[in-house]
Amino acid sequence: MPVTKDEVYKKVQTALVDALGVDDEEVTPQATMVGDLGAESIDFLDIVFKLEKAFGIEIPRKELSPEDILTNASFVQDGKVTAAGIAELKKRMPFVDFTKFEANPQVREFSNLLTVGDLCRYVEGKIGAA
């Protein structure tokens, strides 16, 4: 039987509570990983370990951390991600809502884009949740 979206959410929540030392209530679908939950770059490695174990999946670094796009001169100009760069990001991370970012595509804003909901959608896509 496929895993339900609710089960995905619960497991993601547990992983984030463990990795970031936050309370259950703080982990909402809209909460941003960096701004709201205080995740630092090294926490993402911890979260990846926990999600891989919880769901039995493999998470290649590039899928959640597109540094190669954000540091590529053909996709970034004057500190802003170009239209081509955003297209590349959307292709790499179809589970992320880029609406806000597109309004102000500063590279430095990217780190605060990913939400708990995005992470759940990413996992759902990986495991084919119902």
Partner: protein, 189 residues
């Protein structure tokens, strides 16, 4: 005082498990100012020893080609303090590993008593960090010898492990240099 928080390995199975000892002596500088009048080992220094035990296990897994750093302490439970005259035994195992890091679980014992439990996360420094080794190769090789890693180290199927060529070369070069100095000194006598 050198930053060695284990004395030697007694077991070392590549990529799996390592056991290291740390003997505590009242003469150690660490006891001078910490809880005066009641000499105990700082729990943070026990974590350092447990990180050295498991970090070397993680690093050896790929011939020390990765630059391994302690990135996160996921859990740290201390059941009682360790004191001078006691022998700590750190039992480490790798619980997960991937391209950019590894997880390890380490228990500390005094005889059969469990005194501490930690979960550690190691990260491998990538191209975002300045390149180059974290240690002088010859110093690192000497440290591994002192820890008896290659006396007790085995692969999971029981074969002895060997020092990677890069470090063995540095060790040989240093030995040749000292032998050269010794020979020159003898010649003068």
């Amino acid at each position: 005082m050198r930053w060695f928080w284990i004395d030697r390995f007694t077991e070392f199975v590549r990529g799996r498990r390592a056991v290291a000892l740390k003997a505590l002596a009242l003469s150690e500088e660490q006891f001078d100012g910490y809880t005066p009048g009641f000499a105990t080992m700082a729990s943070s220094l026990m974590i350092e020893g447990m990180a050295q035990t498991s970090g070397l296990l993680v690093g050896e897994m790929e011939g020390f080609s990765q630059r391994v750093v302690l990135a996160k302490i996921g859990k740290a439970i201390f059941h009682r303090p360790a004191m001078p005259g006691e022998l700590l035994r750190y039992e480490a195992s790798i619980t997960d590993a991937k391209g950019d890091g590894a997880l390890a679980s380490v228990n500390a014992f005094i005889e059969d008593e469990l005194v501490a439990e930690v979960d550690l996360m190691f990260a491998f420094l990538d191209e975002r960090f300045p390149s180059g080794p974290l240690f002088e190769p010859v110093d690192f090789a000497a440290m591994l010898r002192n820890f008896h890693m290659y006396d007790v180290g085995r692969t999971p199927d029981g074969q002895p492990i060997e020092m990677p060529a890069f470090y063995a070369e540095a060790e040989r070069a240093a030995q040749a240099k000292y032998e050269g100095i010794g020979a020159a000194t003898n010649a003068k006598r």
